[in-house]
Symmetry: C2
Subunit: 373 residues, 2 copies
């Protein structure tokens, strides 16, 4: 079940829409064109607003249309109606297109626009948001897993083009089509993991662990707090994680369920050292902490990681979308504040399920980075 | 300038929203929470609808909110206001998120959703549509070129994550980040173009020609009808087309401005033959012809192409998004109807600017395809 909101808009010369006579003509015109698809339309209410005019049209079947005039030179039309799962749309996409085209010509609009109907209230949520708060409608057609853990809301959904996809707290994390994400994070072909000791912070989807093991490292320890994420991925994401989440442990890896900070501190005490530490935690902290604390957390993770890294060890992590330069800069500012001093390189890749170009960081102690040049 | 439409919805037990008393309580609750961000809210109108209830709230600054109850168990809230280019949003994204969270808890909603504000009426159009009519908001921040040719509306826009992007009649065609598109279309590394004779139908962005020339073919002729597309791409898309559109001709290629069907017929008469023909025309025909005619056109293109192909020649083309299996099937049905009989292979790649996995076809005469196995 969902309500459909059909949104159109038309930009006109402001002088054409802010007197009553032309407004009436335009409403009449809109109504005539709407009536080609919606029968029995009646204006049930209208009002002057601070910046224009609004009227409401009602039609049998509870198709409610609002037409709003903005004196600045814009008309918005919103058509909203309920559509049961099995029902055909009351207005087809072709009809929306043709409504826009016809009205643009009749209104002599400078520009016009229609959007695909916005689906509201359906169990399968197809709208996710990019790192810079853009709306993206995914071709999600099934919800395979839907549970709330102590830490977050966990969903595995199926996308026609991306395969199964892990969504944590409404944020797309990884999909079956995202091998490029893991390969860019680990810099496959650039870094040599053979016989290396590696620690993964987070990484509950298992993809990084699975790909790293193909490179024959000496040992990988993965610290993941959320057992349910691993349960879900083990069930529905085997094409990206193989059986590593099922087995949990072998001669050359071990998955530890727990708070990575606690284990990092344990490793520091024990003097345990790694060649690589991967920061593969979720981007956005689970609780709704203020910005300052997020960055404190990120800095503490970085500082602790360097305490368990060998002198020439590397911290590898994902950053943010290239469309968020401010956020990337903030991360780089944190790196600049670390002691001892670090250097970093970065690279990027277009990650299918993110629908954007993502930046990845490789961080190393400054003295070692200089020595290795 | 643009109007912002902020859309939220909440799914509730139907019994909780279809009597007047609980409805009044819910409206009061919504109003209280809206008032945290919007001052001076007043209910100016309400009505019973065929499937529920609608009320309109008005606030100074012409912030107009409609709250609609659907008896099926859904409440939609639409907040719409005008936002000048230089103005901060009247309701921030953080406020929208918190409004959703708070109301979900208070309403004891089974699910809830907010979308990033829909921007309407702005000169820079950030919303494009996928092959299966999904809305995708791009990080477009500049319009570099905007002209209407005899054939189509041509825009070059700048996307923060995709670079410059060619948009024809509101359809994303190719972006600077789309090398994978061209490489998959030509099957780089699989097909051998050295010393081959090639014909490109369409291809006005120049990317295919540019990449093919790197493979040292004997000669490429490109048949593009729209000179303005080439002008635009030559100006703003040099990273994908080099200088091939500027030069138009060299010892091993020639760009012909004209209708590819006319030239194909000319080649057929002359008995001119190619090793490869590329169908790199726009997906959707320029005129608003009915579906039947589109497929007739596609079939004629295929038939004519095989008349200018050497017996072992290949027709290479792009199909559609994997999320449109019906459309792909229709194309394959056309292939099955061709005489002489053809075989085809297909492959797919995620094309960044399309934001979807795209299917590409390689078609060959059945006898030759069999012989080459």
């Amino acid at each position: 079940m969902s309500a459909n909101s059909v949104l159109l808009d038309f930009s006109l010369d402001p002088t054409r829409i802010n007197d009553e006579v032309s407004r009436k003509d335009i409403v009449k015109l809109c109504k005539e064109h709407l009536e080609k698809f919606i029968s029995g339309l009646k204006i049930t209410y209208d009002m002057l607003t601070d910046d224009g005019y609004l009227c409401i049209l009602n039609a049998p079947g509870a198709i409610i249309t609002t037409i709003r005039f903005f004196n600045q030179g814009l008309i918005t039309i919103n058509i909203e109606y309920y559509r049961a799962e099995s029902e055909a749309p009351k207005i087809t996409f072709e009809q929306i297109k043709s409504l826009e085209n016809n009205l643009r010509l009749k209104l002599e609009a400078k520009r016009s626009k229609h959007l695909p109907p916005i689906k509201r209230g359906s169990y399968i949520d197809v709208y996710l948001t990019s790192s810079d708060e853009r709306v993206i409608e995914y071709d999600i057609d099934k919800v395979l897993y839907d549970k709330r853990s102590d830490f977050q809301k966990i969903q595995i959904v199926h996308s026609k083009s991306l395969g199964n996809m892990l969504v944590l707290d409404e944020l797309q994390n990884i999909a079956e089509a995202d091998l490029i994400y893991t390969e860019t994070l680990m810099r496959r072909g650039v870094e040599n993991y053979k016989d290396k000791e590696i620690c993964i912070l987070g990484g509950g989807d298992g993809a990084l662990l699975y790909e790293l093991l193909k490179e024959e490292p000496k040992h990988v320890v993965m610290l993941e707090i959320d057992d349910l994420v691993m349960e879900a991925c083990n069930k529905y994401m085997n094409s990206i994680c193989g059986d590593v989440l099922e087995k949990r442990k072998s001669d050359n890896y071990e998955i530890v369920v727990g708070d990575c900070m606690m284990y990092l501190n344990k490793f520091i005490k024990e003097g345990r050292k790694f060649d690589y530490v991967f920061g593969d935690l979720t981007d956005i902290p689970i609780s709704d902490t203020p910005t300052g604390e997020i960055w404190d957390f990120i800095r503490v993770i970085l500082e602790s990681s360097f305490k368990v890294l060998k002198p020439d060890g590397k911290f590898m992590t994902h950053g943010n979308g290239v469309s968020c330069p401010e956020s990337l800069q903030m991360y780089e500012d944190q790196l600049a504040r670390l002691t001892p001093k670090v250097n970093f390189t970065k690279c990027s890749a277009f990650v299918p399920s993110f629908m954007e170009e993502w930046v990845f960081y490789q961080v190393q102690c400054a003295s070692e980075a200089a020595a290795s040049v």
